[in-house]
Symmetry: D2
Subunit: 261 residues, 4 copies
C-alpha cells in the first residue's frame, strides 16, 4: 500500500485533498500600506527572545492586500473562489544576527487556503473580513489613482471592527514604504500535543519573495484606527505618529524559505 500524498493536511491517496498544493505560489494584487510609529517601545514587546529591535524601532506598517493567487498550473484562476483572497497584516522591523528583517506579528485573511499557506510560512493568520476601496477608471463610484483620490479599508473579525484606515493620495512616489520591504523573519510554532510539554515545533525561518514585479506607487496621507476587542491585542500597536501611505500593484512568487534556528 503506498503512503499518503499531499503537501499539507489532509494527506490522501492521490494527494489532491491537501488544503494547499506545494509551492511555488504566485500572487498578483493591490496593496495598500499605511506606515507610522507606535508608542515608544510598543514594537519591541512583540519580538521573541533573541530578536532585537531595529533602527527606528517603533515603525509599523499596516498592510491591506486584495490578492489573486495560484499554484503551478494555475487551475485555481478559472475557479476564482479558490484563488482570490483579501488580507490585513501588521509588519514591524527587527534585527537578528546582525541583519534587519521585516516580521509579521498579526494577520487576518478571508480564505482557508490562505490561512494554511500562512501557517506554513510563519504568518500567524486568523480569519477576518477585509474590505478595500478599489480605484476606478470609469464612472463616479470610486477614486482615480491621482492626487485627491481617497481610499478606505477595514478589518473585522468575529463580527467586530478591528481596524479602519484611509489614504488620500497626494501624488506618486519612488518608494512603497520601508517597513515591509525586507526579508521576513518568522516563527513557526506548534505546541506539543501534551500541553505540559515544550513546543513540538519552534523554528525561526526567513523567506523572500521572488520574481517581484511592481506597478507604479501612489502615496499620500494616511489615517489608522485600531480598536480594542476581546481576544486580540492589535490596539497595543496604535499609531503615535503617522508617516505615510502607499498604494501599488504587486506581483510575486513564493517558493520556500530557509530555517535559521
Amino acid at each position: 500500500m503506498p503512503d499518503l500524498s499531499g503537501f499539507f493536511a489532509p494527506r490522501s491517496p492521490k494527494g489532491r485533498a491537501s488544503i494547499i498544493p506545494a509551492p511555488p505560489w504566485y500572487y498578483s494584487g493591490d496593496v495598500l500600506t499605511l506606515e507610522y510609529r507606535a508608542a515608544p517601545g510598543a514594537v519591541a514587546a512583540w519580538l521573541p527572545t533573541g530578536v532585537e529591535p531595529a533602527d527606528d524601532p517603533d515603525a509599523v506598517a499596516v498592510v491591506f492586500a486584495d490578492w489573486q493567487s495560484s499554484s503551478d498550473g494555475g487551475g485555481e484562476l478559472l475557479d476564482p473562489v479558490r484563488s482570490q483572497y483579501k488580507e490585513c497584516f501588521v509588519v514591524v522591523r527587527c534585527r537578528y544576527h546582525g541583519e534587519t528583517f521585516s516580521r509579521c506579528v498579526l494577520i487576518w485573511v478571508d480564505k482557508d487556503f490562505a490561512l494554511a499557506r500562512g501557517w506554513f510560512q510563519g504568518y500567524p493568520k486568523k480569519l477576518g473580513s477585509i474590505w478595500m476601496t478599489r480605484p476606478v477608471t470609469v464612472g463616479r463610484a470610486g477614486p482615480r489613482l491621482e492626487a485627491g483620490g481617497r481610499f478606505g479599508a477595514t478589518l473585522a473579525a468575529n463580527d467586530r471592527r478591528l481596524a479602519e484606515v484611509s489614504l488620500t493620495l497626494t501624488g506618486s512616489s519612488v518608494t512603497g514604504g520601508f517597513v515591509n520591504a525586507l526579508p521576513m523573519l518568522h516563527s513557526r510554532w506548534m505546541p506539543s500535543i501534551d500541553p505540559s510539554q515544550p513546543d513540538a515545533l519552534s523554528e525561526l525561518v526567513t523567506m523572500s519573495s521572488q520574481d517581484v514585479e511592481l506597478g507604479p506607487v501612489y502615496t499620500g496621507d494616511a489615517t489608522v484606527e485600531l480598536f480594542d476587542v476581546p481576544g486580540d491585542e492589535l490596539s497595543a500597536l496604535r499609531p503615535y505618529e503617522m508617516i505615510a501611505g502607499y498604494w501599488r500593484q504587486v506581483g510575486a512568487t513564493f517558493a520556500g524559505g530557509t530555517k535559521l534556528a
Copy 2:
C-alpha cells in the same frame, strides 16, 4: 410628531436606517458578458403576458459584474463593505408596444443593499456567491487583457453551484454584446398581504442608465454551464448555440425610471 423618514424600509425618525439611500446611485465596475442562444422558445417562456419575444428571440446574456457603488455624497466608498458587491444576472430581449427592451429574468447579488436596490428597480434579486477572475498587470496570478487571457466566473446559492462560465480572449471589439444594451423592461410585483387576493403592486417599468462611461471591450470565446438545483429554473436557459463573450469596465448612474403600466 413628524412622520418617519427614509427612501426605503426601515423608515426611521431621521431617515438614516433605510436599507438604501435615495437615488441617484453611481456604479463603476468590471463586467463579463457571455452571449448565446437558448433552445428555441426557451426565452419566450420567461416573458409575462403582454410582452412579446424580440427578433432573434432566443438570445440570452449571462452577465457577471464586480461593482463599486455609492449614493450622493459617496460616504460608502470609504467603508467599502457598504459599497462593493458582485452580481450574476440573466438578460433576455423582448418587445412591448412596438419597442425592443432588455429584461432581467434572474439575478443574484451578495449584499443586502444591492438586493433592495434591485427589488425597487424590478431586478428579481436573490442572494448568491459570485466570483470572477480579475485581469492583472503584474505577476503571474491572472490573465492579461490580451489575446489568450482566460477568465472564469462562478455563481452559487444555498451552498450549490448554479453556473460556471469562461471567456478566452481573442482580441478587442467595438461592441460589448447586443442583449443587455437596451432600455430595461421590468416587473415590480408585491403580493397582497392576503394571499387569496391579487397582487398589491404589479407594475411594468422601464429604466436606462445615465452618464454611461465605457472602457475598451475585449472579446473572445465563451462557455456557459448552468446546473439544476432545487428552488431555481436557471438551467431552463442553457445554451443551445454560443455567440461570444466580452469583458469591459463600465461606469453608470441610475436616477429612476418610468412606470409604463
Copy 3:
C-alpha cells in the same frame, strides 16, 4: 404562452424560482426576549403618522430568535441551509383605531428567503449576523435552563457590532413578555420607480401567528447594549430602564394578514 408563475419574484415558467414559496409558513425555534423602557418619547418617534403610542409608551422588546422554518411540504427541512435562519428585531407597542398592536421597527436576518418573507409581511428586514448562546443538556459548554444559566446574543451588520445582550436566568415565568404579544401593525412601502413621485405602495397591514405552540418560559435579569453605527438608528432606542428577559421555544404558522389602510 401561459403567464409567469411564482408567489414572489423572480417569477418563472414553472414558478419554482420564486425566492419564497407561498404561505403558509411554519416556524419552530428558540426565542430570547429582552424587555425594557427607552427614554421617554423615544418610541413615539418610530411610529408613522396616524399611529399613536400605547399605554406604557416607551416599552421596547429586543428579540433574538433562531428559527427552523418551512413551507407546505416541508422539503426545505432536509436541506437546512434553506430552512434555518437567525434574526434580531426590535418591537414596540402602538395604538391604531382604538386597538393596541405590536410593531416591528427594525429587524435583521441572515438569509435571503427570510428577508423576502419579511418585506412581504412589513418587517423592515436587513441582513445581519446574529448569534445566540444555546442551552445544553450535557457537557460544560453552555448554560442549563435553570436559575443561574447565562445567555448572550449579538447582532452585527456590515462588519460592525450593533447589539450585545445577556440574560441570567432566575427561574420560570408564566409570561414571555408583553411588548411582542399582540397582533402586529406593519407598513408595507414601495417607493415609486420615479423617485419624485409618492410611494407606489403604502399600506398598513395587520397579522397574527396561528397555531401557536409555546414551550415553558424561563425568565431572568437582562442587559441590552446598542451601538452607534453609520446607516442605522438602533442606538436611539437604548434602554433607560430594564424590565426583564425571557427564553422560550415557540412554534407558529403564518398564513397571511389583513390590509387595514
Copy 4:
C-alpha cells in the same frame, strides 16, 4: 523584555491574541453519525505507512456536529460567535501496535478557532459550510426525536456541495455507532519551510475525550451521498453498504493527547 505569550500563534505580549486559548476545551452539541462500509479496500488507502486496517476494515462514519465550545472561564459562551461552530468529518478505524483506533481522515469546520484546534490535534481541517436539521419540541418546522423523524445535513466548500445525508429515525438505540467510539490516532504534519526537505514535524499522536456525558441515542435509516469536486477526494469513500445512522447529544472535554511516534 519578557518573551511572547500565547498557546498558539499569533503569540503576543499578553498572550491574548492566540487564535485559541490553551486546553482544556469543553464541548456540548448535537451529533449526527452515519455509518456504512465503503468499497473493499477503500479505507486502507487512507492509512499512513505503519498503520494497518482494523477488523471490518471498510467501515466509515460520516459525522455532522453542531457544537458549542469554550475554554476555561467560559467567556466565549456569552459571545457565541466565538463559541459555536459546525463540522462534518469522516472517521475510519485502524490498528497500530496491536490496538484499534479511530482516525479522522477528512474534516470541515466553519470557524477559524475550530480549524486551529484541529490542526493542533491532528484533525486535518478545512473550512466548509455545514447545515443540520434540528429536532423541535414545538411547532411544525422540524422533526421530533421519535420514530419517523427525518433529518438532513449538508456539507459545501468553495461554493460546491460535497455531501448530502439523511437519517429517518426508527427508534432508540443503546449504541451510537462503532467507528468513532475509540481513541483517535492522528498525524500532525508540518512541511519543512524548504519544500525540498522532509517534514519539519511528523508525529503520530493519540487522544481521548474526557468527562464524556451522553444523551439518549436515536437510530434509524441513513443515506449518504458524496460528490466529486476539484481539490478533494471525499467521493473515494462513497458508501458501498449502509449500516445505520444515529443522533445524540454529546458533552466532552479535551485536555491534550500523547505522542506515540
